[in-house]
């Protein structure tokens, strides 16, 4: 079986802090990581390959040249091939243009199953996976918590707020992985050596996909949406903070506030 995992390199947003003076993001020194849901997707693919050893896993990442590191990590975990989709023409893309670009690359590759993460921790949109599926005309299952392959179909446990569905999709199809799908393994030392010595990351630029995409759908100019402004949230006016109270005084202060606001 041929599996393609689409990943994104993201800043570790749990490490991002606000500068208290300028109220801007401090990004210096913030590590870049493989997006967690995507990494679960890599692990799920590796487990499918363990069950069917003649499978082949290709990992694909759209991003700047630095994203090479994320692809090497995927190779070190055990993926077979890596493709970095990188060109200035792809820059500034919203989810529509991003999914158009990635779908154009996927059209050049053989696949039975495409796995993406549910959402990336920097944008949190969860849109690129389903949009890729639409561009390729594939059935999709998002929010996948468990998967297994049975012959020519994949069985997915698909999570909702109040229920889950067990659904069967015909191959080829696309699923989006929850972090719960599979806890990623660590890279092995041998894997890391292979990733840098034996394996290589292919770089695909615009020329590599020009015949499978309308260039009007790429990058900033191919994006239907545009960020008009971005801003850090204004902290709402801080209230009163009481220090050095006894427990009884603290209770009195809270009860007083609750009565003032007619909560009790």
């Amino acid at each position: 079986m041929k599996i393609i995992v689409c990943i994104k390199q993201v800043p570790d947003t749990t490490e991002v802090r606000l500068d208290p003076v300028t109220n801007t993001l401090i990004r210096d020194g913030v590590p870049s990581i493989i997006n967690p849901d995507d990494k679960a997707g890599i692990e799920a693919a590796l487990r499918l390959k363990e069950a069917a050893p003649d499978s082949e896993i290709t990992v694909l990442c759209m991003g700047p040249p630095q994203a090479d590191v994320a692809l090497r990590e995927a190779l070190a975990m055990g993926c077979d091939q890596a493709i970095l989709l990188s060109d200035r023409a792809f820059g500034g893309a919203d989810t529509w243009a991003t999914s158009s670009t990635i779908a154009a690359a996927l059209k050049k590759l053989p696949y039975d199953l495409i796995i993406t993460g549910r959402q990336a921790i920097d944008g949190d949109t969860a849109q690129v996976g389903p949009q890729i599926a639409e561009h390729l005309g594939l059935p999709q299952a998002s929010y996948a918590e468990a998967i297994r392959v049975e012959g020519k179909r994949v069985i997915v446990k698909r999570q909702f707020e109040d229920r889950y569905q067990i659904i069967a999709l015909p191959l080829p199809c696309l699923i989006t992985a929850l972090a719960e799908l599979a806890t990623p393994r660590y890279m092995s030392v041998a894997g890391i050596l292979d990733a840098y010595r034996e394996k290589r990351v292919q770089v695909w630029d615009l020329a590599a996909i020009r015949d499978t995409v309308d260039t009007a759908n790429l990058g900033l100019k191919g994006s239907p949406t545009r960020v008009k402004k971005s801003f850090t949230k204004q902290a709402k006016g801080a209230g009163q903070v009481l220090r050095d109270l006894s427990a009884d005084e603290a209770v009195e202060a809270i009860v007083g506030k609750l009565r003032e606001k007619f909560i009790i």
Binding site: T95, S99, Q159, F160, Q165, P224, R226, A238, V241, A250
Partner: protein, 336 residues
């Protein structure tokens, strides 16, 4: 010309979800700025009076598409029907709830009709001059807010976080047009088989509906720390919620989690106990009417958003607070 504000009325087992009424309420506000109407689109099977209910909550029109393939959510049949409606009616705006259904369906539809989509919006406004929809959403784990527009493609599409927009009060005097349409579905649209549907055994508690939330953070120290919070919540007539750390630690169920990766809540009272106030948490509760925080650490960021902050030990204060509130309520009961 594109016209009208459309919202997806999401149903599960025939029951319209609360977020749908919130979308209609928001749609009515936007419609006033545009001089247009609000249309709720309801997909499913075996409806009774759900269409009228949507009118009662403020929709001017309701479009109902009924087909057995639409009873339980599946991506392709839903996407096909919505794309047909969009191509036929050319709405100006289309809103979805940012639920697991909305976040699966809206991107699929946006790709099919070639328009932009903005995820998880927390604020929608009509720009006074351009009349464009300005869609504001958090990114970077809630660290940044971005306002996004979609200039040339229609409809302008957004998913909206449940619990953020306000529903109108139900008014049975409101009337409007309920139209049933032909879904145009064929066997080919059935491209995935649902083998099994397993509903949560007890009806999942929805903390977004609670008026009072007593919320616990890492400062509780253990799963048992929630016992004192449950007592306090019971005394106040509220529910217990949590920060992410305690959910990850397995101390409390995921459906109680408030924050960027949990739920957005805005109760009348949010009592944060031992919650430091990471930005991802604050993103999910800062809209609460009254925020009271108890924390040992007087530099905890939760104090920046709290109306009242108490620097102290919750393990001592919470039981005493519970006792004081019970006493007050008993006294009041005795008087009346």
């Amino acid at each position: 010309m594109s016209k009208g504000i459309y919202v997806l009325a999401e149903q599960r087992d025939g029951e319209i979800q609360k977020v749908s009424f919130e979308l209609i309420g928001e749609g009515v506000r936007l419609a006033a700025a545009l001089g247009q109407q609000v249309t709720a689109v309801l997909l499913g099977a075996g409806f009774a009076d759900q269409g009228e209910t949507l009118l009662h909550y403020g929709a001017d029109n309701v479009i109902i598409a009924e087909d057995p393939l639409l009873a339980e959510y599946m991506t392709e049949p839903y996407a096909k029907v919505l794309a047909r409606i969009i191509r036929a009616d050319q709405p100006e705006i289309f809103l979805f709830g940012a639920t697991t259904i909305g976040r699966d369906l809206a991107p699929r539809v946006s790709a099919r009709v070639h328009t932009g989509l903005t995820a998880d919006c927390t604020k929608l406004e009509i720009e006074p001059e351009s009349k464009l929809l300005a869609m504001t959403r958090p990114a970077f784990g809630g660290n940044i807010m971005a306002t996004i527009i979609c200039e040339r493609h229609r409809p302008q599409m957004a998913t909206v976080r449940p619990g953020v927009m306000k529903a109108l009060a139900k008014d049975t005097a409101r009337a409007g047009v309920v139209k049933r349409i032909d879904c145009g579905l064929t066997a080919a649209d059935h491209n995935a088989d649902i083998l099994q549907v397993v509903k949560s055994s007890q009806k999942a508690l929805d903390i977004t509906e609670a008026k009072i939330l007593v919320s616990g953070g890492r400062g509780l120290g253990s799963a048992r720390g929630f016992e004192a919070l449950r007592d306090l919540a019971e005394a106040l007539g509220g529910e217990v919620s949590s920060s992410r750390a305690n959910v990850d630690a397995g101390w409390i169920a995921k459906d109680r989690q408030v924050g960027q990766t949990g739920k957005t809540v805005r109760p009348d009272l949010y009592l944060a106990c031992g919650i430091s106030g990471a930005i991802q948490h604050v993103a999910g509760m800062e809209g609460s009417n009254l925020i009271i925080a108890i924390n040992k650490n007087d530099t905890a960021p939760i104090f920046d958003v709290a109306d009242l902050g108490i620097v102290g030990d919750l393990k001592v204060i919470v039981p005493k607070l519970t006792a004081a509130i019970r006493r007050l309520k008993q006294e009041r009961a005795a008087i009346s």
